[in-house]
């Protein structure tokens, strides 16, 4: 049984809890592949998507995950909500709460915003990305994708490549992969590395070739182009040349190594188009798996047990 009220980050989850979600996502993926993609499991439950940042895939993924399970899903786009009238997060949360929401999925630019919300409302809270802190459901879908392809995590070397400093995806992946027994490398310019990252039990590389040698998985992070304007690296061109993933570099990894990217991609910057669309890329599979993993999370958090898996 799932015991946690909220899903705020991977850091506080146990390996068992992570595995519970990954196991649950397997039958959920079967549902997505059906012609009639609907089971009545969450009928009468409401899931509210409260997104303070633009998002296509995460929001749609949560919405479809809820709908495939027959939950009532509502999307609140902040730009058209009372937030623009100055309403605080707590007030917005309480308003949604008293309308009978069961689960609130929140995406917010401020690290810790989901924690603030969770403290003040009765509904369960799922973090769909908070600032540079965590993006637990992205990490879970990455883990699921790796597990599907590789079977297990022990002995795997996963290289996370790019802007680690600002990346919630990197943080959630580092915690998740480490808990499940994979070896994690991070690679990128020193100006995009968080302080003290070596204390997180990862290996830090600044030369991408070294970071890729013998890797089983390469997870390429999106580069937010405005970082260049802040002087964190000289030019997009140099970034692409020094740290962009291309076919020559992929060849340094283990044969059959997997290429992941959380999207949306800057083709030709952090990843070359031929790699993004190549045979080793699981980028589109990640998107499908995202729906399955989110179905699993909604299901478990709504009180579903492994015993009554919908088949």
């Amino acid at each position: 049984m799932w015991k946690r009220k909220d899903l705020l980050g991977i850091k506080e989850l146990s390996a068992d809890e992570i595995n519970q979600i990954l196991d649950q996502a397997v039958p959920m993926k079967d549902i997505i592949k059906r012609d009639i993609k609907k089971v009545p499991t969450l009928r009468g439950k409401s899931v509210i998507n409260l997104f303070y940042e633009p998002s296509t895939r995460t929001r749609t993924s949560f919405e479809l995950a809820g709908k495939y399970l027959s939950a009532d899903t509502v999307n609140i786009a902040v730009s058209t909500s009372s937030v623009v009238k100055g309403e605080t997060l707590i007030d917005t949360g309480k308003t949604i709460d008293v309308m009978g929401a069961d689960i609130v999925v929140i995406r917010h630019q401020a690290s810790g915003a989901p924690h603030l919300l969770a403290k003040h409302i009765k509904a369960k809270v799922i973090n769909a990305g908070d600032g540079a802190h965590e993006h637990p459901t992205q990490a879970l879908l990455d883990l699921f994708t790796i597990k599907e392809a590789k079977g297990a995590f022990e002995g795997l070397t996963v290289t996370i490549l790019g802007d680690i400093l600002h990346s919630r995806v990197a943080r959630s992946n580092i915690w998740g992969l480490s808990k499940l027994g994979a070896k994690v490398r991070v690679a990128g310019p020193s100006t995009l590395m968080p302080p003290g990252i070596k204390e997180w039990g990862v290996e830090v590389y600044h030369r991408v070739e070294e970071a890729l040698e013998g890797a089983d998985v390469v997870n390429v992070l999106r580069l937010q182009l405005e970082r260049q304007q802040k002087g964190l690296f000289p030019t997009i061109r140099e970034y692409a040349r020094q740290w962009g993933l291309n076919a020559r570099r992929v060849a340094l990894a283990k044969p059959g190594a997997l290429v992941l990217h959380p999207g949306p991609m800057n083709r030709g910057v952090e990843i070359s188009p031929d790699v993004a669309d190549g045979l080793q890329s699981l980028i589109t599979e990640q998107v499908t798996n995202g729906v399955a993993v989110r179905m699993a999370i909604l299901y478990l958090m709504s009180g579903g047990g492994v015993a009554d898996v919908p088949r």
């Binding site: 401020a110 603030l116 802190h133 302080p195």
Partner: protein, 429 residues
């Protein structure tokens, strides 16, 4: 007449640490002795088992009035001070408007006369509106009794303005208090830059942001021969700079807050906005250095940087919340904690809370030698209280210590012979 009987008197300036009786009359200390007779008609306070100290002085508080009365007023802030054992506070000028002229200093002083529960010494701003561009009328303000100027809350970013301020303030015997923060390094950071900030995904303020400006201001103070006081020192490197400067004879002093001595950046991990403060709660190596610096006398003063905010202002996302926490009512137990752990002599602690600030800023009090003002604090070192928001007299409830059991609280606060707090009850209306 008032007789404080049987307490352990700690008066570092007078070199006394012994059980003594203290007789006070007409706002002055009359006599100190081992077993004073009780004069007829004298009120007696039995201080057996308690500590008796010169009235505590906090040289760094934000009383928020005028202009920001939703956060705090001179009435509520000085009542919080009385509860915390402080008989005098220096209030920072970042009110609205900024205290940057004689008229505004006098305005604060007149509110203090009407509403104040303890002594209040206004600090003027260094620059007009604390905008960092032109010097404020420091000479005028000095005539109204201002002993120090500061643009606290903001650094004086332009080195030339700081140089001029030091040169100018020196003529009037005014100390320049510097909030050291190089803004291009601090950026829009919200906590200490380090592994914790990285883990929490919050932007960091590196120790270097403070250290760089401490170095600059020490160099400028040395060149001008002016008096410089570093506010709320928080970084190990800053402390080393101050230590070296003092050894060279530079007229520099500094203060540390109780929260920087007792909380690390790990306290931020739950995103509680009560832990959001500037300078930020640092990592353990800095805390260790600060404790050492206080114990060895490199740090002169303990000051709270009491910074009240409304509940609404703090009940937001961590990055959106204002910096600051309330400190007046928790300073004594937090410092006594260090004394109990044998990290700090009680004399050094009391000096940093009374005689040192009095000496550095030329304020009355700081000792209980006969003839001194009857500003006195009695502390029960064993009194344990769980800190509850409703018990705080400050309007600001933004304390990171809420819900914690703290030990060692003031039980008597006397200002100029008048008891303003007794047995944890305020005696002012």
């Amino acid at each position: 007449m008032f007789l404080v009987k049987g307490g352990m008197l700690i008066d570092p300036a007078a070199g006394i640490k012994a059980v003594r009786d203290i007789l006070l009359q007409d706002g002055r200390v009359v006599e100190i002795g081992e077993h004073l007779e009780i004069p007829e008609g004298a009120e007696v306070y039995d201080a057996t088992g308690k500590l008796v100290t010169p009235g505590l002085i906090d040289v760094h508080v934000h009383l928020r009035e005028p202009g920001l009365e939703a956060k705090e007023t001179i009435a509520s802030g000085t009542r919080a001070a009385a509860m915390g054992g402080f008989t005098a506070v220096c209030c920072m000028p970042n009110t609205n408007p900024v205290t940057d002229s004689l008229a505004l200093v006098e305005a604060v002083q007149s509110i203090v006369r009407r509403d104040g529960a303890v002594r209040v010494f206004p600090i003027g701003s260094i620059t007009k509106g604390s905008a960092g561009q032109e010097l404020a009328e420091i000479g005028d303000m000095a005539q109204a009794g201002v002993r120090a100027v500061s643009d606290d809350g903001k650094p004086v970013s332009r080195a030339e303005i700081m140089r001029l301020a030091l040169e100018y303030a020196k003529m009037f015997g005014v100390t320049v208090i510097s909030h050291c923060e190089e803004q291009s390094l601090a950026g829009d950071g919200v906590m200490h830059y380090g592994p914790m900030s990285a883990m929490l995904g919050l932007k960091g303020i590196p120790a270097a942001a403070e250290e760089v400006m401490v170095a600059r201001d020490i160099i400028l103070a040395e060149a001008s021969g002016a008096r410089l006081h570093i506010a709320h020192i928080s970084a190990k490197g800053s402390l080393e700079l101050v230590r070296a400067a003092k050894a060279r004879g530079v007229k520099v002093s500094c203060e540390v807050t109780p929260h920087h001595l007792s909380l690390s950046d790990e306290a931020v991990s739950g995103y509680s906005t009560s832990t959001k403060v500037n300078p930020p709660l640092r990592s353990l190596e800095h805390i260790t250095a600060l404790r050492q610096g206080l114990a060895d006398g490199t740090i002169d003063c303990i000051a709270t940087d009491h910074a009240p905010h409304t509940l609404e202002e703090k009940a937001v996302e961590f990055a959106a919340a204002p910096f600051g926490l309330v400190g007046l009512e928790t300073a004594v137990p937090l410092i006594l904690d260090m004394v109990r752990n044998n990290e700090l002599d009680i004399e050094r602690a009391v000096a940093a809370l009374s005689s040192n600030p009095a000496r550095i800023f030329g304020l009355p009090g700081g000792t209980l030698r006969p003839g001194s003002p009857a500003d006195l604090t009695v502390i029960d070192p064993d009194l344990e209280l769980v800190l509850k928001p409703e018990d705080l007299k400050s309007q600001g409830k933004n304390s990171p210590f809420l819900g914690m059991a703290l030990i060692g609280f003031p039980v008597l606060t006397m200002v100029e012979g008048k008891v303003v707090m007794r047995d944890r009850n305020l005696l002012v209306d």
